[in-house]
Amino acid sequence: MTIQKEFELFIGPNHPGATGNMSYHIWVEGDKVKKAETRVGYLHRGFEKLMEKRIWMQNVPLVCRICVPEPDVNEASYSMAVEDLMGWEIPERAKYIRTIILEMARISAHLLTVGGIAASLGIYTAAQWGIGDRDYLLDVFEQITGGRVYHIYIWPGGVRWDLPKNTKELLTKVLDYLESRLPLYDDLIMNNKVFVRRAADVGVVPKDKAVEWGVTGPNLRAAGYEYDVRKLEPYAAYDKIDFEIPHYPKLGEYEVLSEGSDIYTRTAIRMLEIQQSIKIIRQALKDMPEGDVLLKHPQWFAWKVPAGYAYSHVESSKGEFGYFVVSDGEKKPVRVHVRGPSYTHGINVMETIAPGLNVADFAPTAISLDVCPPDIER
C-alpha cells in the first residue's frame, strides 16, 4: 500500500470557511497546502438554459438570482445588453437612479465581504456590525423597490418606477450613519495589529500575472492597476460623476504594507470603495435631474429584439460582471452567457496561489478574493 503523505481537507460546502455553497478540495502536508481543486456545481440551476426558454422581459426576475449578495449588477448588465441590441438610450433620471442603486448594492456587498474577511480571521464583531449596518441599506432598498434582497428594479429601458418621495432624506440619514461607523471599522479591522500580521503578504496575487489570470475588480486594483469598468466604459451616470478609483499603492489613510494583491490590500481597497460609493450616491442624489424613468416601449410580451451580438459589462463589488447576449430577432434570446468575476478568482487564481498557503490562511484568502459560487456555475 502506498502511503499518501498529504491529507485531504474539504473547505466546503458544509464548512464555516466556505464562501457559499462551493468546495475546495485541498491536499495538505503538515501546515501547508500542496494542491487545491475547486469543486463547483452545487448551485447549478441552468440559468442560461432557462433564459432561452423565457421571453426577454421574463428574464429580468431570473437574472438577479445569479448573484445573491449584489443582485442589481445582473439586472443592470442584462438590461444594458438588451438596450444595446435595441439601440435604446434610457432617460437621464433613470441613469442616476441606476447609479444610486448600484452603489448602494456595492456598499452592502462590501460590508458583507469586509465583515466576512474579518470574521474568517476571527473578528466576529466586525461581521456582526457589518451585516447589521448593511440592514439599514436593505431598508432603503425595501422602500425604493419593495424587496430586501431581490429588487427587480432595473429594467431594460430604465427603472421600474421613480424613487419614493422621502428616499433622499432616508438615504442621506443612512449614509451619514454609515460614514460615522467607518472609523470604528478602521479601528476594529484595518488598524488592528493582529489583523495586519495575519493579512499582510498572505494570499498574494502577483501583479505581473493578475491581468493574464483574468483578475478583475477590487482584487485587480489591489494588485496595482487603476482599472475600473465605471471609468473605462462608463455606464449609467458614472461619466458625469466625480469619483476616484482606489488602487494600490494609493491606499489613502491606510498603510501600504506589501507588494501585490494580498488580503490586507484587498480589504483596504474595499473599505476605500465604500467611502467612494457614499460620495457617489451623495453626488447622484444632488445632481439627479427630474423626468421620466422608463422609456415608452412596446408591450413587453411583444418584444422582438433585433438579431445581433451584445456584450455589456458593469463593475460589481467582486469584479467585472458581463453579459454576452445573442439574439436572432425573436421573442426569446438565443444565448445569454454570464461572465461572473468569480469564475477566474475562484477557480484558476485560487488553484494557482493555493500551493504554499498556510492551511490557516486558505479560507481568508478565498473569502478576500470574494468568491461567489453562483456566478461561476449559474
Binding site: I3, Q4, E8, F10, G12
Partner: protein, 617 residues
C-alpha cells in the same frame, strides 16, 4: 557464586553464539541465563534493609568477591547504589530477552551472545569496588554494545558510536589515571582525596566520560544514530538500562568517591556546589533541546532517542543539585525512565514486527488493531509526560521541588517547558502511530511481546500509589553519603515547600471518573465507521480514497520556528565528529567487515591485550 555467574554468562555467550541457526532455542537459553542477575539481586536484598521471604532467595550469592590480578585486585561488592541500578537492569534485561524470542525470526545467536556479554559487563560495573575492575567491565560492556551496533549495519551509527565510545573510554581512563597518580590506589574505599585542582580535573574528566554514555548534550551525538539504526530489543535495553550506567558512574564518583563536602570546597553558587550547578545547567539544556529535537523527528526511533536524551537530562539536573530531595528525584526518574522508555521501544518493536514501518507518517490507526500494545504504550506515555496518574509525575515533582528549594530560578522554567514539550512529541506518537486513519489490517502483537511490555508497566503503577516505598529504597543510598531520606509515608512525600499525597490524587481521580462515567452512560451510543466522518458534507462514496491522516510533518509550524536554531549546531557538530571519526574509522573500516563472528574475535583479542597490558604493567 559470582565466579559461577561469570562462568555461566561466558558459557552462555558461546552456546547461544553457536546456536545462530536456532534463534528460538538460543533465545530461551539466553532468557534463563538472563534471570541470574535478578536472583542475585534478590539474595542481596538485605543491603537495602529489605527482608524478602526465603523462597525468593533460593540462590545465595556472596556479597563480596575478590580476584587477584597482577597489579591489582579485582573487587566486586554489592552496595546500595549498585543494588538499585542492578534492580533496574536485571529486571529489564530478562524482559528484553523474552521480547526478542518472538521478535527475531533468524540469525539471532550473535545478538543474544552480545547481549549477555553486555549484561555481564553491566553486572561487573555495578559491583565494582575499584577502578581496575570498573574499567575492565566498562570495556566489556562498551565493546559488546559495538557488536550490537554493528549488527544494525548503519555506517553513521557505527562511526559515531566508535568515536564517542573511544572518547568516553579515553576520558574515563585519563581520569582514573589521574586519580591513581594522586592516591596510589585503585580501590575506591582507600582513596583519600583533597580539594586539589588535580582531583577536580580528574572528576571532570570522569564525569564527562560518563556523560557520553548518559547522552548528555553535547555528548549525545551518537545516541540518535545508534538508537534509530539498531535492533529494537537492544535499543530498549540500551536506552532503558545501559544509559543509566553513565549516571551510575557520575553518582558513584561525585557522591561516593568525591563526596558532597569536597565538591562544595571547589566553590559554591547560591548554596549549590559549582560543579553540580554546571551539571544541572547542562542537564536542563539537554532536557530542553532533547525535547525540542524529539518534536521534530519523523522516525519513531529517533523521536524516542531524542526523548531519551531529554528525559535523561532530568537525572543530570537531580545529580547536579545534589540535595537528598534532588538525588531521590534523580533516582526516581532513572527508575521511571528505565521502564517507560523500555516499554515504548518494545512497543515500537512490536509495531515494526507487525507493519514493517518506523516512520510515524507512514503508520496510523493501530490503536484498535493492537489495543494491548496501545494501552501499554499509553501508560508509558503518561509516565513520560508525567501525568499524575503514573509514577512519572512523582519523579519530576521531586526534581521541581528540589530546584525550587535551591531557588533555581532559571533552570526550573526550562525543566517545566521541557515537560510541556514532552506532551507534543508523545501526542505525535499517539496520533501518528495509534490513532487516526486505520491504514493497516494487522493482528495484535504476539503474547511473548505483550507480556514483557505489561510486566514493565507494573512498576510505574506500583510506585504511583506508593512513592514512599521508593523513598525507602533510597534511604540506604543516601545514608552512604551522610544524608537522610526525605520525610515520607507510603503514599505521601513531604518537602520543606509542599506535600504530595498520591492517595488523595488517586481517590479524587477515581471519584471524578465515576462522575464522568455516570454522565457518559446516560445515553446509548452507536459505533460508526471511520469513513462516516465530517468531510464538510462530501459523501465519501464518491471518492476512491480520502487520505485523512495528518501525521506527516505534524508539527511543521513548530519546526519552522525552531529548526534554524538547531540545524547549524547539529550540523557543525556532526562535521567535527565525522572528521574525527573518519581518521579513526577509515582504518577501522577494513577491520569491521560486518560479520558478527569477526567481531567476537576482535573483542576476545582486545580482552587478551587488555589483561596482558595490566599484567605487564
Amino acid at each position: 557464586m559470582i565466579t559461577l555467574t561469570i562462568a555461566i554468562f561466558l558459557m552462555g555467550v558461546i552456546v547461544v553464539g553457536l546456536l545462530n541457526k536456532y534463534p528460538k532455542t538460543a533465545g530461551i537459553i539466553a532468557f534463563f541465563v538472563s534471570l541470574i542477575p535478578f536472583f542475585a539481586l534478590l539474595s542481596w536484598s538485605s543491603v537495602m534493609n529489605i527482608t524478602l521471604p526465603s523462597y525468593l532467595q533460593f540462590l545465595n550469592f556472596e556479597t563480596s568477591w575478590q580476584y587477584n590480578l597482577g597489579p591489582g585486585t579485582l573487587i566486586l561488592q554489592i552496595t546500595p547504589l549498585g543494588w538499585f541500578f542492578l534492580l533496574l537492569l536485571s529486571s529489564l534485561f530478562p524482559m528484553v530477552i523474552l521480547f526478542s524470542i518472538s521478535y527475531f525470526r533468524s540469525n539471532a545467536g550473535g545478538f543474544y551472545a552480545a547481549m549477555l556479554l553486555t549484561m555481564l559487563g553491566s553486572f561487573g560495573i555495578l559491583l565494582a569496588q575499584d577502578m581496575l575492575t570498573f574499567y575492565i567491565f566498562w570495556e566489556i560492556m562498551s565493546w559488546s554494545i559495538l557488536a550490537l551496533v554493528i549488527r544494525g549495519g548503519d555506517r553513521k551509527a557505527i562511526v559515531s558510536y566508535l568515536s564517542f565510545g573511544a572518547l568516553s573510554a579515553m576520558l574515563i581512563l585519563f581520569g582514573f589515571m589521574l586519580l591513581y597518580f594522586k592516591t596510589g590506589t585503585f580501590v575506591f574505599a582507600e582513596m583519600h582525596l583533597d580539594a586539589s585542582n588535580l582531583v577536580l580535573a580528574a572528576i571532570t574528566l570522569i564525569v564527562s566520560g560518563f556523560a557520553v554514555k548518559g547522552a548528555l548534550m553535547p555528548m549525545h551525538v551518537w545516541a540518535p544514530h545508534v538508537y534509530s539504526k539498531s535492533e529494537e530489543p537492544f535499543v530498549a535495553f540500551l536506552s532503558g538500562g545501559l544509559s543509566k550506567l553513565g549516571y551510575f558512574g557520575i553518582m558513584l564518583f561525585m557522591y561516593g568517591v568525591v563526596g558532597f563536602s569536597l565538591l562544595s570546597s571547589w566553590g559554591t553558587f547560591r548554596g549549590v556546589p559549582l560543579f553540580g550547578y554546571s551539571l544541572a545547567v547542562v542537564g536542563a539544556f539537554t532536557a530542553f533541546a532533547g525535547t525540542v529535537l524529539a518534536v521534530m523527528q519523523d522516525d519513531l526511533r529517533k523521536l524516542l532517542a531524542y526523548s531519551s536524551i531529554g528525559q535523561l537530562g532530568y537525572i543530570a539536573i537531580g545529580l547536579g543539585i545534589g540535595t537528598p530531595l534532588a538525588l531521590t528525584g534523580a533516582l526516581f526518574q532513572a527508575l521511571n525512565h528505565t521502564f517507560f522508555k523500555a516499554v515504548l521501544f518494545l512497543a515500537a518493536g512490536a509495531v515494526y514486527y507487525r507493519t514493517g514501518k518506523y516512520k510515524i507518517s507512514e503508520l496510523g490507526g493501530l490503536g484498535y488493531k493492537m489495543p494491548f500494545t496501545f494501552l501499554a504504550s499509553l501508560f508509558a506515555i503518561f509516565a513520560l509526560a508525567a501525568i499524575p496518574i503514573t509514577s512519572g509525575f512523582a519523579a519530576k515533582w521531586l526534581l521541581y521541588e528540589a530546584a525550587i528549594e535551591k531557588k533555581f530560578l532559571f533552570v526550573t522554567p526550562i525543566m517545566l517547558i521541557a515537560g510541556v514539550g514532552a506532551f507534543l512529541y508523545v501526542y505525535k506518537i499517539l496520533y501518528g502511530v495509534f490513532l487516526g486513519e486505520p491504514r493497516y489490517n494487522v493482528k495484535e502483537a504476539p503474547l511473548s511481546q505483550l507480556v514483557p511490555m505489561w510486566i514493565l508497566v507494573l512498576p510505574l503503577i506500583i510506585f504511583l500509589i506508593f512513592p514512599g516505598w521508593f523513598v525507602d529504597l533510597t534511604a540506604p543510598i543516601l545514608q552512604g553519603y551522610e544524608m537522610t531520606a526525605i520525610p515520607h509515608t507510603p503514599y505521601t512525600i513531604n518537602t520543606s515547600l509542599a506535600k504530595y499525597n498520591t492517595l488523595a490524587v488517586i481517590f479524587a481521580f477515581i471519584g471524578t471518573l465515576i462522575f464522568a462515567f455516570i454522565l457518559y452512560l446516560s445515553k446509548p451510543q452507536e459505533k460508526v465507521d471511520h469513513m462516516d466522518n465530517y468531510l464538510a458534507g462530501e459523501p465519501p462514496e464518491l471518492y476512491d480514497y480520502i487520505s485523512m491522516h495528518a501525521s506527516s510533518k505534524y508539527y511543521e509550524p513548530f519546526e519552522e520556528v525552531f529548526y534554524p536554531y538547531f540545524k547549524r549546531g547539529a550540523e557543525r557538530m556532526w562535521e567535527i565528529i565525522l572528521a574525527a571519526g573518519e581518521v579513526f574509522g577509515s582504518g577501522a573500516r577494513k577491520i569491521y567487515t560486518g560479520i558478527v563472528g569477526d567481531y567476537s574475535i576482535y573483542i576476545l583479542l582486545f580482552f587478551l591485550i587488555m589483561v596482558g597490558w595490566w599484567l605487564l604493567w
